[in-house]
Chain length 288, copies 4
């Protein structure tokens, strides 16, 4: 189980400031001992149309120089272009397909294997079944077009922000409906807690299809700062053989958060917890 | 003094849901008795690359059918493309210029005369003077390129969200530095209140160059729901001969707000206040 | 639009005390000016196996004597028998069918036409699709077996309490899947508010299939005591031609609430609001 | 002194979700090191009419396989059938007798010796003396009819939920009034704390008739998370020679609690406390 940190808190998404260059962000996150970095496709870091060929190469070098891996990438929905695959606007859906294809290629170029798929949300006037159909079509097309990259799309249910794919089973059903080898699952503990759901239930429900986890306490706090039961979560992840990244997606949603503090606090809590749980389970296995 | 409502609360910016089509949004806002509508360039409403020629024509018809004017437009910064004219990323600055030009043309096509200019924010590693220079260059180029449209750019200081142009004088200085006839001023009462400043001070400081006002109480509440002194603000606006739009930019920043309630509450408070103040001033003038 | 009050607050569900006999409850609610009463199938009021033939006749007489109609009935899920139609326990599902059939007959005997259907919840280890199938089967069988009663089943989405049918579209999809003439829709404003959804969106989304509404402010407060936008809700209900009952389901979930106060506060807020909105719409129609 | 965990938090009582099958619940509670499990008679776990003969046998096997004992059982009052032995409704009282008889037989079949008796609550219109008489009659009849099972009924005073048997002496008086060898006492620390009473007072007051204890901090928090003085409680229990089960009845009354966390936190606090207190007392005895 590796530990990663998402870049939103250092970018201009959601809150516009403070914001740091990607160079500075990579340097800081690597310096804190993270194994990986999850790069969000937001200005001023990694919006594909703003990245020259040279710049793309340079980012790959930066990751290597700092000894940190690209755990994953994800788009920045809402705002101007939206990137809502369930939008009634055909131009938006088409642009969303292209954006995901761009991101998959960028992910591969930077050595990553995981791209988060956000199934979108229902605009008033669209039925859920129609929105689902549109999202399924976008995901199917993207999955086919990025097959050559080796990148896996992981569907994220987002109860706090959306109204279409909100819980574990919504993501599972979408994965089943799409039925592609490069479409798997992830979840974010923040969204599970927001819905008053049990984090470890998600782990058992998603099982071997769970390939990525966003870690955050309630209210997007660093893990261990709120009410979330992270010991049970880590138990469940070890129990089910999870070997992906635990990625903090925290501290980016309001003014007044210091990104460095958020990142440092998160790893200082999570690293020892994971290690002690791994030791505990190893000991228990030996006994049997 | 006309009253307008900004579309963010009905779009997917900032929070993604609830979201309504622009058709539904125009119908509702017009139905509540607003004179104008401020359309934000965000999905699913009005992101220029997603608007076909037919769709642009149709939106103009919708405004006419519902007897409501386009008070103004504005971009949706942050998110993916950023639209930060002070970004150290040259590609982002170039894209920002193009986006403003697109928006000015769209504003003109829909019968509007006002486009809000957001001067951007400083990314860590850039000096304020450098960021200012970049923003000034973007604004100068946009002002020149949209001269033919008849649209006026109004600079908005945003203390809550940024770190470059935060207060009345910042906006005034930028206007003076650029020195173009189609570059004027606006302010948002929310940002003034956030900085613990006096709303009416902005009115007197900006004087005849004040062409647009965003109305919001503290915490982006509907006017009259928080601590803001709106009677004094209206006095100052009448006093200085302001004849632009008072535009609510409220209720869009967190889950759990009902857009209709926000819009209805706002006009139910503001319309009688403006009318009683106008009557009061008319009576006072007669006496003199 | 008629106004009704649900009996939970006077029964032993959820909190056990205070509790009143059904006779006392009917007397009080009728005395406050309610048009209807929604009787929950909980002790000590109306659990069918505890009602003798004489008692059933007597309750009908009581309603007539006090001039109040039975707006609707509903089961009390959870607790001992559960009544979860999506339970993995076949005995529980069979008992749930029988309970709904009993309730439909009781509803008809007491002069009612509406029975609320609660689609149940997912037990860990059941997939959502399996739970959905079970609930659909129960609902289909009940709909067929109660056809002779003239009672309509209205599906209620319950985001606060369950994890299967939580939002407007879930209920719509279940209604479509079952496809029976006596299966329609309802919603509860408390659950919409709990999910940070817009109450009037439910009205427009459910349209002519909306046959019943539970009214409650956030945290099951009397309407008008919390954050809910009830003026917009009533506008939407008039707009779509709703002519069912507005039923308070409030004040039953924690110690320390006085049922009479809850019931009186609710109708004192809602009755004038409905009447003024009806007058407003009538005036607007005349003008056109 | 053995430690047990009550199943409500894993069942659909009070809150309906999350809910786990009894198989999963037994596995988890045993896995955390509990000596016993208290099984509540609620769906989807153990509502007697929903249990086939095979299923009853299978549950007994499950307990044995996981090496955990049935510490006790209890009914789920309120909801539909009520199970209120003080109800003015004769049918409800008769059904309550039958339910307790069923539960005693189930308890015996699953290897348990303790069944909790909840004396019920007063419905408005009934005098306390009348309610007391009804509850005493129910308890007397149940005690006689279950004599063959070897199960002991323990009366629980419940100040938070009821208005009839609320404090230590109420339970003691009821025990004396009934005067049967298989009717004894228990108490719940949550109810003592809710009434601002001293937990250890209950221990000394009930003395040798105290056969079972429910452990919970204020607000049904895990012991050690609130204000309760558990070290003094354990002292008193050792002092009076208590050798029954300390059973957590926690974490089941509102959404947003993770049952595993509640169960784990409880035993992590209580086990070392009990062990250190036992060692302390053993040492003190030696000295004497």
């Amino acid at each position: 189980m590796k530990i990663s940190y998402n870049t939103w808190a250092y970018s201009s998404f959601y809150v516009w400031v403070p914001a740091y260059t990607l160079d500075e962000t990579i340097k800081r996150i690597a310096g804190m001992g993270y194994d990986g970095i999850e790069i969000g496709a937001a200005a001023p870091h990694a919006y594909p149309p703003h990245l020259s060929k040279d710049r793309r190469r340079r980012v790959r070098e930066l990751l290597d120089e700092h000894g940190i891996s690209l755990s994953s990438m994800l788009p920045a929905p809402s705002g101007g272009p939206g990137n809502n695959p369930a939008s009634p606007n055909i131009e938006e859906r088409r642009a969303t397909v292209e954006h995901y294809v761009d991101l998959a290629e960028l992910t591969a170029e930077w050595g990553g294997k995981t791209l988060i798929y956000l199934p979108g949300w229902i605009i008033f006037g669209t039925s859920r079944r129609q929105a689902w159909k549109w999202s399924r079509e976008v995901l199917t097309e993207v999955a086919d077009r990025i097959a050559h990259t080796g990148v896996t799309l992981v569907i994220e249910p987002t109860s706090h922000d959306t109204n279409l794919c909100m819980h574990a089973d919504d993501a599972i059903e979408l994965m089943e409906d799409v039925n592609k080898p490069n479409v798997k699952l992830m979840f974010d503990t923040f969204h599970a807690l927001y819905s008053r759901e049990v984090m470890s239930d998600y782990v058992y429900r998603m099982g071997e299809n769970l390939k990525h986890v966003h870690i955050s306490d309630n209210d997007r706090l660093p893990p261990g700062s709120g009410v979330g039961d992270f010991p049970s979560l880590i138990d469940a992840l070890i129990d089910t053989g999870f070997d992906g990244y635990l990625t903090m997606e925290t501290g980016f949603h309001r003014r007044g958060i210091e990104p460095d503090e958020d990142a440092r606090t998160s790893i200082e809590y999570l690293r020892p917890l994971v290690e002690s749980k791994l030791a505990e389970h190893a000991k228990a296995s030996k006994k049997e």
